[in-house]
């Protein structure tokens, strides 16, 4: 169940910094430990930058979600960029098409509890993550 939500644009490097702060605030509100906050914020940084650089810009939806007794933060990164032709390959450690470290997707996946990626060539990419308290 979604308790509240908000949407933020990702159009510039400044926006990447901003959505990171948003993720930190929402995690702090649920009293995440410092380590858990740092994990969520770092995953946010990776995915927001992918949205900006590979996806040509998009949005981040932030939600406070509830599942039984558990609460968490769900983040959805969405763009209408070129999409990812081979998701399996993109999720491999070290795979990059842009001269990065190629650890953004695979690393983020390890930093959160739930990770889902949908992409269609020419249509765009949506990555959804949840970190539970």
């Amino acid at each position: 169940m979604v308790l509240k939500s908000d949407v933020h644009p990702i159009k510039s490097a400044d926006d990447v910094v901003r959505v990171r702060q948003v993720a930190r605030q929402w995690a702090a509100e649920l009293k995440f430990s410092l380590v858990d906050q740092t994990k969520l914020v770092t995953a946010t940084s990776e995915l927001a930058r992918n949205t900006l650089e590979h996806g040509k810009g998009g949005t981040m939806r932030v939600e406070q979600v509830e599942n039984g007794p558990r609460r968490g933060v769900r983040l959805t990164f969405e763009d209408n960029g070129p999409g990812i032709p081979n998701i399996e390959r993109a999720l491999q450690d070290g795979y990059t098409t842009g001269g990065g470290l190629g650890l953004g997707l695979s690393g983020s996946k390890r930093l959160v509890n739930e990770f889902e990626i949908k992409s269609e060539a020419g249509r765009g990419t949506t990555v959804t993550i949840i970190r539970w308290k």
């Binding site: 490097a13 990447v16 910094v17 990171r20 410092l34 380590v35 906050q37 740092t38 994990k39 914020v41 770092t42 940084s45 990776e46 930058r49 450690d93 990065g100 470290l101 650890l103 953004g104 695979s106 690393g107 983020s108 390890r110 930093l111």
Partner: protein, 290 residues
């Protein structure tokens, strides 16, 4: 304000050229804005004002919302162009004279009404000017806040800790083009001071993601190529865990939890050691005539 509105509409052309002439004589800044743009702004504001004045004389009312909105835009664009808030206020206030002139011509026969109307329209323009100054100041504050943030990101001095030992205490977010500048300044400081060891301290960096890590690795590799050793310090526990999960390999890099530890390591590499001096109490407790 009904008759004001009539006067404004009937004399729109004359008022507009009177206004432009008024500005040309006093507050015009042709260095900042071209004639065409100024004329467009003036014409649009006059049109909105005349329209609003038909329904109300209260500038905070719904009737004036389009005028207020337009003035906010003007405040913003003029700030970007380099106008001061008072110059922007003068733009609005210099509309008074040509409006008063037209009203005088139209209401010649009724001095009482003339005075009342002039007071009302003057009052309205004053208020709009003040609101616009407020907007301009608000926008300028936003610019200041942004610049402060940028300066924080920039404020990363390379400091010399010891002969041959440099430190770069990084503060703030590290994912912009500025990172490049900061790292380059470290590399050139290494050359200039002929240092053997550089310590990059990331205590003040809130987020270390793969981009930041990549910048750090590149800098450290470049420093090595220049013959200097590079240590990384200030890795907080939460950051250390995150780096591991991301899968970033820092095994080749000498890391220390604290800057002090890295400095200690640097000194021992240079063949220096830190010794505890003879306890101070021995000196002070020594009897004077001993």
């Amino acid at each position: 304000m009904s008759s004001v509105h009539e006067v404004l509409q009937k004399n729109e052309g004359a008022i507009l050229s009177g206004w432009l002439a008024e500005m040309a004589a006093s507050t015009r800044r042709s260095d900042l804005m071209g004639d065409t743009e100024l004329r467009q702004q003036a014409a649009e504001l006059l049109r909105l004002f005349a329209h609003a004045a038909r329904n109300s004389s209260d500038t905070t009312s719904e009737a004036f919302s389009a005028t207020r909105e337009y003035l906010r835009e003007i405040a913003k664009s003029r700030l970007d162009q380099g106008f001061t808030p008072s110059e922007t206020a003068m733009f609005i206030l210099s509309l008074k004279q040509p409006v008063f002139n037209s009203m005088r011509d139209e209401l010649e026969s009724d001095p009482t009404q003339l005075v009342a109307e002039i007071w009302t329209v003057g009052n309205a323009l004053d208020k709009l000017a003040i609101q616009t100054v407020d907007s301009a100041v608000e926008f300028r504050d936003q610019v200041i806040v942004r610049q402060q943030q940028e300066m924080l990101e920039l404020s990363t001095p390379v400091v010399k800790l010891w002969d041959g030992v440099l430190a770069l205490p990084l503060i703030g977010t590290l994912d912009s083009a500025r990172t490049q500048v900061v790292m380059e300044s470290l590399l050139s400081a290494i050359v200039e001071t002929n240092s053997q060891i550089a310590i990059i301290d990331i205590t003040g960096v809130p987020t270390v993601d793969t981009l930041v890590a990549q910048h750090l690795i590149k800098t450290i590799t470049a420093a090595r190529l220049m013959g200097a050793e590079c240590y990384l310090s200030g890795i907080r526990p939460a950051i250390a865990q995150t780096i591991v999960h991301l899968g970033i390999d820092l095994a080749d890099i000498q890391t220390k939890a604290k800057l002090a530890d890295a400095f200690g390591l640097a000194l021992s590499r240079l063949g220096k050691s830190i010794v505890t001096a003879k306890p101070a109490t021995n000196i002070t407790s020594k009897p004077k005539d001993a």
